[in-house]
Subunit: 328 residues, 2 copies
């Protein structure tokens, strides 16, 4: 019983405070719905499109919330790209210098986007270097505060504003959410969203969705403890390649989630094509896993209303064109 | 002086009435802004993304407004695709049967989309058949009311709700619109938007934007009379291939517009790529001409705030992938 009474690292009030900090700064992304996608699943999909967020992903929300709350003299972050751009823009808006540690093989659009936002970029080799150690070294040397990508209450609270808006916007159009699907790398977005959604929508089932090979949260939820992904796992969902659940994110997710769902790269590519066609939205692979889970029937959708978080759209033109060209 | 005192076929009150009919039915598309695009033009671009509208273009607004106001027993329409889908969905929502006359070489996504919305589709040869005659024949034979694509006050008023929302949303974020750019085929969208924008934003300059070879409105505005495009003109902006300005749309546009701007197919393709990268939005060629005009410097943008109507996103995957692959 003790687990049920322990306080979570993020509470609903923290998400509300984040929403207040982000007012007039973050985009209140609209809630999208497509006749065609609804017909495909026999239910109602209410889609929250964070590609339309500043920097092209939800990551700006958490980064701005953390930096605005902490107001450090400088910041450093390590990221495959979306957190990088979020931190870079948030720091610039708040007049704080930022250094970002990024893998050398990150999508070019993410590397270029981060530099264009005025951050200093330090690249590393994903296979041989330890990005956390590099980030810590820069923090110690320059006095910058490390802005973690997910395992930090202020980050989770900021990402949770996606779930808060989803709940409010769905209620406004008379949609009663039976479930919500949220992509999951380190687990910060789904943790924050779960805090907001379970508070606002009693009885809602919130699922983490992960790409095949990186289903650490699904397996950890089933096992009741944090498990790692295989070191040789590969996926084209570059935004979701965290090695294992965060300590704080898993504490939230183990308590609030209904479970984890897993999708293949082919299912993700199909969802990207359907979003191109019916939503007119550019979604990156990691941003499309939740939509892919609904379209591939990984949970019951008939006559149900499902909230879907589409988390980002920072995908290189070459890869996007390649996905469009693949057989459906 | 008589031209200045003649009443226009569409007044601001007609746009307000359309907004009332569309409330809770059409999507109030958000207003988007990109740090990167603003930096490119040295000003502020406030972008109204109608690809996020139901059926993927603004055409749903006018179609629904007209059919909801007229409540005919059945409707027929001729269209290269976007008006087709708009009429098909509007008719279905209002419980009215629809027949759509479409060119056989229309983008597959538009043909399929129209059929999927429950309309009967009749195809014709763009080079040899007269689509207006085919539409009239069906109307006479079946008793259906013809829903014109642009030269109809209820259609213009419905499209004008795009401009009304643009004015309201820009004001809400403190943006004072110096100019607005709106794509122009037959001229219904820009006419409706001009009625709304010139009423709401005193002193605003509203421009029609057309693809090279189909600059009939630009030339007609300069000449003070309606002029035709060359019969052998070609453009990949399939949504904007009207042969000459409409009679009613030109009456409005000649009075309210600041002028016409013209963009090349290459400038349009470049705008589509920049929208992919920075807005995460799928835009069809005809939907991107206004954005292309701003990005290609067809009017002064430095330190100005420019409203941009992006009108639709119904583009085939093959063409979109091809545009992404072209050199910038």
């Amino acid at each position: 019983m003790s687990a049920l009474t322990t306080e979570l690292p993020v509470r609903f009030a923290d998400v509300e405070a984040a929403a207040e900090r982000l007012r007039g700064v973050a985009v209140t992304t609209p809630l999208l719905e497509s006749e065609a996608l609804n017909a495909l699943v026999g239910g109602r999909l209410l889609i929250k499109p964070e590609p339309l967020q500043r920097t092209g992903s939800f990551k700006f929300r958490g980064a701005y919330n953390a930096i605005a709350a902490l107001r450090p003299p400088a910041v450093v972050a390590y990221s495959s790209g979306n957190h990088a751009q979020g931190v870079a823009l948030a720091a610039r808006l708040l007049g704080i210098s930022a250094t970002i540690v990024m893998p050398a093989d990150a999508p070019r659009t993410k590397l270029d986007g981060t530099r264009a936002l005025g951050a200093a970029v330090v690249t590393y080799d994903r296979a041989t270097d330890d990005r956390e150690a590099i980030g810590r070294e820069i923090a110690e040397r320059t006095g910058a505060v490390l802005i973690r990508p997910y395992d930090e209450p202020l980050i989770m609270a900021g990402q949770g504003t996606v779930g808060l808006e989803l709940a409010e916007q769905a209620a406004r159009i008379g949609g009663r959410l039976d479930a919500a699907l949220v992509c999951c790398g380190g687990g910060g977005l789904v943790a924050g969203c779960a805090v907001a959604l379970t508070h606002e929508v009693p009885g809602i089932e919130v699922y983490a969705v992960e790409p095949e090979g990186f289903d650490d949260t699904a397996r950890s939820l089933a096992a009741g403890q944090r498990l790692r992904n295989a070191v040789d796992a590969r996926s084209f969902c570059d935004a979701l390649l965290a090695p294992m659940p965060g300590e704080l994110t898993f504490a939230v997710n183990a308590r609030l989630l209904a479970g984890g769902l897993v999708v293949t790269d082919a299912e993700v590519a199909s969802a990207m094509r359907l979003a191109f066609r019916h939503l007119k939205l550019v979604i990156e692979p990691g941003g499309a896993v939740a939509l892919a889970a609904a379209l591939a029937g990984k949970l019951p959708t008939r006559d149900r209303t499902i909230g879907i978080v589409v988390s980002g759209g920072n995908v290189d033109a070459e890869l996007f064109a390649d996905v469009l060209g693949r057989a459906a």
